[in-house]
Assembly symmetry: C2
Homo-oligomer: 408 residues x 2
């Protein structure tokens, strides 16, 4: 069995290492050698730490995609456009495809699954959600036997690391982000991680599997952690709580509601114990009750381990369709499903801002004032997301991002 | 595809319910009907809540085991001798077998797996460990890609419920057991659950898979929660900790150490958050790091869900050998792997007992005295299990179970 590896960065080299470390086991399983026969890289002249792969390197993807001896293509180049094109091409050429690329999966899931099914090949993406935590496959299995009612999850290591730091050391978001970037936990442009887009992609993938319907990123209400400050963390800690960026999905008959938002949680909750770059996914099914899956949400070897577990499933011929419902049922993104109480801070720059105060009054959302003065902090009534998002976009007309925070 | 169901108690009726509830899905998967064609019961005349199964009932196991139209036998009668015989007979007759019976699996795992492999049939037992939590299959998958170094787990709902009650309401063990029995969380004879034997079976199964060696129940050091009293809980809570019955396995080269013991834990640990009849299994692999699996450790539908997930694996032709190592490698149950500090309480009945005091002095295990008087409470030095178990068996010569407690 031959593998073509697209990309030789963190995940790609991890996959290479694991497959060669486990050579003996794979030989027993496959009956034959399992070999990475070609590797796509950008720069053929770059010096690489893995020397023995030199004669396998190519900078032409079609040397791999058109090679009839290659059975499995592992996409690990990242990005969207090219990755999507190569995956599609490989499936059309009758190859099994494995990817860790959540952006491509979230955007093209249905099309690529349909294409794989049509060609009787596997399209697997365990590593695209929650890194090393086995969740895609267990969820697919549970979905056959259960109606999934709910998903609650911590799916982004970067923002979880930043929030942990802020809570432990009473830092502002910007200070914690700075540390995260220095330690390599956050990228130079951290937008995807801290504004929730990375989590939203993962939630789109999980809910598409769980609800057997195509759920798009755009269907998910999404707010990140950018506007949270030390003053918020302090107030929340004083109330005896903590903050996590949670991805939630609710499903009930034909109504669903999906959100990515910072959430206030009891310090005693399971979620509160998830530190640094770890992930936690909870799924609730009608018969199975609540299952929780926890582990490393990122990292070279955990992620590569998930990719190679997909290779095993192809070897064992153990891959099915995801079972996205083809029926045109009336799905409704129903905001009535969820109402909640929000923590809100407003910090008008130059003392009290009349317009902001009027806005708060007009919206009639205040339940309890916690603090006044430089920072006005209050808890809202039990309101739905239409109300809170209208409130947030109105607030934005008057003050900058740094002068407010809204936490569910 | 036809299923023969042995036993129609809690698990058996649960399996029946789920399979009929999911009829439509199974029809899509199997292409044909998936049907429970015969059910073994003890009393053919007993009135049953599920009426439509009446013509399927039999009190003769061989009507099922010898029926050439039955493809899968699900054993749900419990007990050891007959269950073992029926499973073996079914495998010899070329049927796939699924069981939730941890006692049989722990005792006969290697023999039954070998028999199933020889006959090219499945022998699956997902429900035998941690009820509804998918752990057997994920562990089998990780084992191929990882060297498993460690397992840490809460695997018994009854003792976990009792400990939770004791901690929340400051009760003695006997009071909490009484409540557990009244609520149906503990059986009339609770020995297996509270003395750790049930957990030991589950740990034997998990470590056999994880370490690819046949691990026997007798290889596992085992103490339950019977001697813990309200005074212990009080002292431990005052120190800022909590207590859980943990099953642990350590593996390093050819050395291993396995134990079932009550353990003192930080109130902030994940394990401390596992309440009532829930289970938690953590596995640590060299590449994957730590994975945690959490869910309902018992209950009709969660357990039946796990059984039916094994049916799915048979339908998908997705079952492999467990891969118990056939080599005669020098395995060593090495107590040097683990040293730990123990909490010890001695309560001699009539004031201070000279013999007990002398014993404590002789063994030189005391590190810090926490309390004297009616109850002598101290923490031990960092000692291994040989020393602590010799101490416990010596103590037993002088005082009854109710007058001491040892918690790791």
């Amino acid at each position: 069995m031959n593998i073509g590896l697209l990309g030789f960065g963190t995940v790609g080299t991890g996959v290479y290492e694991i497959i060669y470390k486990r050579k003996r086991i794979f030989r027993t399983l496959v009956g034959d050698e399992l070999s990475i026969s070609k590797i796509l890289i950008k720069d053929i002249n770059k010096d690489r730490s893995i020397k023995e792969c030199k004669n396998k390197l190519t900078d032409n993807p079609y040397f791999i995609l058109d090679d009839p001896d290659i059975d499995i293509v592992i996409e690990a180049i990242g990005g969207i456009k090219e990755a999507y094109e190569y995956i599609k091409y490989a499936l059309i050429k009758g190859k099994h495809v494995i990817t860790a690329n959540k952006a491509v999966v979230a955007r093209h899931m249905k099309e690529l699954i349909d294409l794989a099914n049509k060609n009787k090949r596997a399209f697997l993406y365990e590593a695209s959600v929650a890194g090393g935590v086995p969740i895609v496959k267990p969820l697919k299995q549970q979905v056959t036997l259960n109606d999934i009612k709910e998903i609650n999850s911590i799916l982004n290591g970067t923002s979880n690391f930043i929030l942990s730091k802020m809570i432990k050391e009473n830092l502002d978001f910007s200070q914690a982000l700075d540390i995260a970037q220095k330690l390599g936990y956050a990228e130079a442009d951290p937008t995807d991680d801290i504004d929730g887009y990375d989590v939203r992609r993962k939630l789109a993938i999980l809910s598409t599997i769980a609800f057997k319907r195509e759920i798009k990123e755009e269907d998910i209400y999404c707010r990140g952690i950018r506007t949270i400050k030390a003053v918020d963390i302090k107030a929340i800690k004083e109330l005896g709580y903590t903050v996590k960026l949670l991805a939630k999905a609710l499903f009930n008959e034909n109504n669903y509601y999906l959100s990515v938002e910072p959430n206030i949680l009891s310090k005693d909750s399971f979620y509160a114990k998830v530190e640094d770059a770890n992930n936690l996914v909870s799924i609730i099914g009608n018969d199975i009750g609540e299952l929780k899956f926890y582990g490393a949400g990122a990292g070279k070897l955990p992620t590569a381990n998930a990719v190679v577990s997909d290779v095993l499933d192809i070897i064992y011929n153990n891959y099915g369709s995801c079972g996205i419902n083809q029926e045109e049922d009336k799905l409704c993104n129903n905001t009535d499903l969820v109402k909640d109480i929000y923590y809100i801070r407003i910090s008008p720059k130059y003392g009290l801002n009349e317009k902001v105060l009027n806005l708060i009054k007009e919206e009639k959302i205040v339940d309890k004032i916690i603090k006044t003065g430089e920072n006005i902090i209050f808890t809202s009534k039990d309101i739905d997301y239409v109300k809170i998002s209208r409130f947030i976009s109105n607030i934005k007309n008057f003050i900058n991002d740094e002068f407010y925070a809204v936490i569910r």
